[in-house]
């Protein structure tokens, strides 16, 4: 029972990270109809930047904020410079552009920082809260930060004019132009936000899975699966999906089949869900008009 609770709670912690990354994917998907397959590698690179700054003596939270800010700007630049030229290219060509970004970030990170595994510090204390045996302080902190980020994003999109404009631009580009919204910049902003969220996710997960250039590939896959299970056009679904997948991964790994095949089994289960509900649990059922 204890072990079960521990698995569930730490599953929620990693699930929160999947949820953040899934949200980043959904944000870009809603505005551009593309999945940013490079989101994980961008997050990994941001985490390396933070590591670099901390190694040079910067206090943790300063490095955290700087990494998030740099990622924000980088996301905007990437959208304007690399994605914009292929806006109207065939879908699969855009997929290859994302693959290219993925490969470039991964390779450059490996080149600059080498492939040796590094430790990334956690800002949370070593001792578990109240000495409990179920969840570490970092895991608890990760859940807290994830929820905080999600709440801030929700309030931004729901209550600010800019958030409203971004939602409008994501739904209907033509009408947005007709009310004067500069759609191109809204897309760039979306990318900037997604990159920031990714950076936060990366810095939260690095203490758990250790910092190395390939650390985010599994995370991205889970986040992608979570976004699909929740319904690719539904941010709440993506978040719920993220938490669910995190718990599922842990339970499958602990109770069904060891850690080597747990990825496969988890994916199979997720695909099973998709077969029953092909547009995800909370996704819109599309009525195709002929």
């Amino acid at each position: 029972m204890e072990a079960f609770l521990h698995q569930v709670l730490s599953g929620l912690a990693t699930g929160g990270i999947y949820a953040s990354l899934a949200l980043a994917l959904v944000m870009i998907y809603q505005s551009t109809n593309h999945i940013n397959f490079a989101q994980g590698e961008m997050a990994m690179f941001s985490t390396y930047l933070a590591w670099d700054m901390i190694n040079h003596g910067m206090p943790y939270w300063w490095a955290f904020v700087c990494a998030v800010a740099i990622s924000f700007v980088a996301g905007i630049v990437i959208e304007r410079v690399i994605i914009r030229p292929v806006e109207n290219a065939p879908v699969l060509s855009v997929v290859v552009v994302f693959i290219a970004l993925l490969v470039i970030f991964n390779s450059v990170a490996g080149w600059i920082y080498t492939y040796t595994i590094k430790t990334f510090p956690s800002p949370f204390p070593q001792q578990p809260l109240f000495g409990n045996r179920f969840i570490s302080s970092h895991e608890l902190g990760a859940i807290g930060v994830t929820l905080a980020v999600l709440v801030v994003l929700y309030m931004f999109f729901r209550f600010t004019t800019l958030g409203l404009a971004m939602r409008a631009a994501a739904q209907n580009q033509v009408s947005s132009r007709l009310v004067g919204i500069r759609v191109g910049w809204m897309l760039a902003l979306g990318w900037g936000l997604a990159a920031s969220v990714g950076a936060i996710a990366g810095m939260l997960v690095a203490p758990i899975i250790y910092l190395e250039p390939n650390m985010m590939s599994g995370v991205l896959l889970y986040a992608f699966a979570a976004a699909l299970v929740g319904g690719i056009d539904n941010p709440f679904g993506a978040v719920l999906g993220g938490f669910a997948v995190g718990v599922l991964e842990n339970l499958v790994g602990a109770y069904v089949i060891g850690t080597e095949l747990k990825l496969t089994v988890a994916l199979v289960l997720i695909i099973g869900v998709l077969l029953v509900k092909p547009t995800g649990l909370f996704g819109k059922v599309f009525v195709t008009r002929v």
Partner: protein, 339 residues
């Protein structure tokens, strides 16, 4: 009345330097075939091996293009079918002593069946959802291949080593040259079969399903059947290529068939040209040689260079190399219709 007949417009075929477009195309194909056949005798053994892999990848990309390019079903999982074909060949040759050429039909059939079976649930999925499902296949494959309980067959993590076959009939050529010609022959047959299929009713049905699934169904196309059959045929091609690849490389191991392979295949058809037969060749050349080339440019971050190549190709040729060439030919050619 005779005047009317005399002044009726004559439709004549435009000619370029005396020959029609079709004649030029035929000449081009014959020249290419001649070049392909003589190539192994002009280059080093290592290069023969490399070009042999180009031929193998061309078969893969033919198969993948059928599914993704012509039929619109995205697959990030063809590395898995490649692996199945490769292991089928390796197990038959190493554990059962089968001759290398007999493994190809088996690989083809096994993969056709697995592709068809995978295509059934895939009917319910589209776009990114299908991409995830096929990607799961490719992620699962190395893990399954390493699975302890079937190590006896698969050789576990170490894999299986295969002996290179000798040229038959005592021909005075190296084994590499023989394998190359063998692969070339298989490619020619499969190319012809694909060309025939895509030109005909089935091919048109495939494209109709891709472009407007509802209209296709309304016109009587059995969408489910065509889609699962396409999956099967596509997997068949990839499986046969996998078997050939295993024989050429002389080695199969779980880590040769990771997600990177599947992603490379997708990159291949996009760079080569979606929904194009010649695109398979261009794509195969790209995925075989550009990584090596990138490695020569920068030993420190070769994949970053590869990524830059990808971006360059996509920006300059968004419809792939095949589309680019088509556009160039269109521009260079001026239609001269007699007055």
């Amino acid at each position: 009345m005779n005047d009317a007949a005399k002044t009726a417009p004559v439709i004549s075929i435009p000619r370029y330097a005396g020959l029609s477009m079709r004649a030029w195309k035929a000449i081009g194909i014959v020249a290419l075939a001649a070049g392909a056949v003589t190539l192994p005798f002009l280059i080093s053994n290592y290069r023969v091996f490399q070009f042999n892999m180009v031929l193998v990848y061309t078969i893969v990309l033919l198969g993948l293009n059928m599914l993704t390019g012509y039929n619109g079903q995205i697959s990030l999982g063809h590395g898995a079918f490649y692996a199945i074909g490769a292991y089928a060949a390796a197990i038959l040759m190493d554990r059962f002593g089968w001759p290398y050429w007999a493994t190809l039909p088996v690989a083809g059939v096994v993969c056709f069946v697995s592709g068809f079976l995978f295509g059934l649930p895939a009917l319910r999925l589209r776009g990114h959802y299908l991409a995830l499902a096929t990607f799961a296949l490719t992620v699962a494959m190395p893990q399954i291949l390493k699975y302890k309980h079937i190590e006896h067959w698969t050789g576990g993590v170490q894999g299986i080593v295969i002996i290179k076959p000798d040229p038959p009939f005592g021909l005075k050529i190296t084994p590499d040259q023989w394998l190359y010609l063998f692969t070339l022959a298989i490619l020619a047959v499969m190319l012809l079969a694909a060309w025939n299929l895509l030109r005909g009713r089935v091919g048109r049905a495939m494209v109709a399903i891709r472009d407007h699934p509802i209209a296709a169904e309304a016109m009587g196309v059995n969408s489910a059947l065509i889609k699962t059959l396409t999956f099967g045929v596509s997997a068949l091609y990839t499986g046969v290529a996998g078997a050939l690849g295993a024989i050429v490389v002389q080695f199969v191991a779980p880590d040769s068939f990771t997600a990177v392979l599947s992603i490379n295949f997708l990159v291949g058809i996009v760079i080569g040209g979606i929904a194009s037969i010649s695109g398979a060749l261009y794509g195969a050349l790209f995925i075989q040689f550009i990584p090596n080339f990138a490695d020569q440019i920068s030993k420190a971050a070769p994949w970053a260079i590869y990524g830059v190549f990808l971006l360059t190709f996509v920006y300059l040729m968004p419809t792939g190399v095949a589309g680019f060439i088509r556009m160039l030919v269109g521009k260079l050619v001026r239609r001269r219709v007699p007055a």
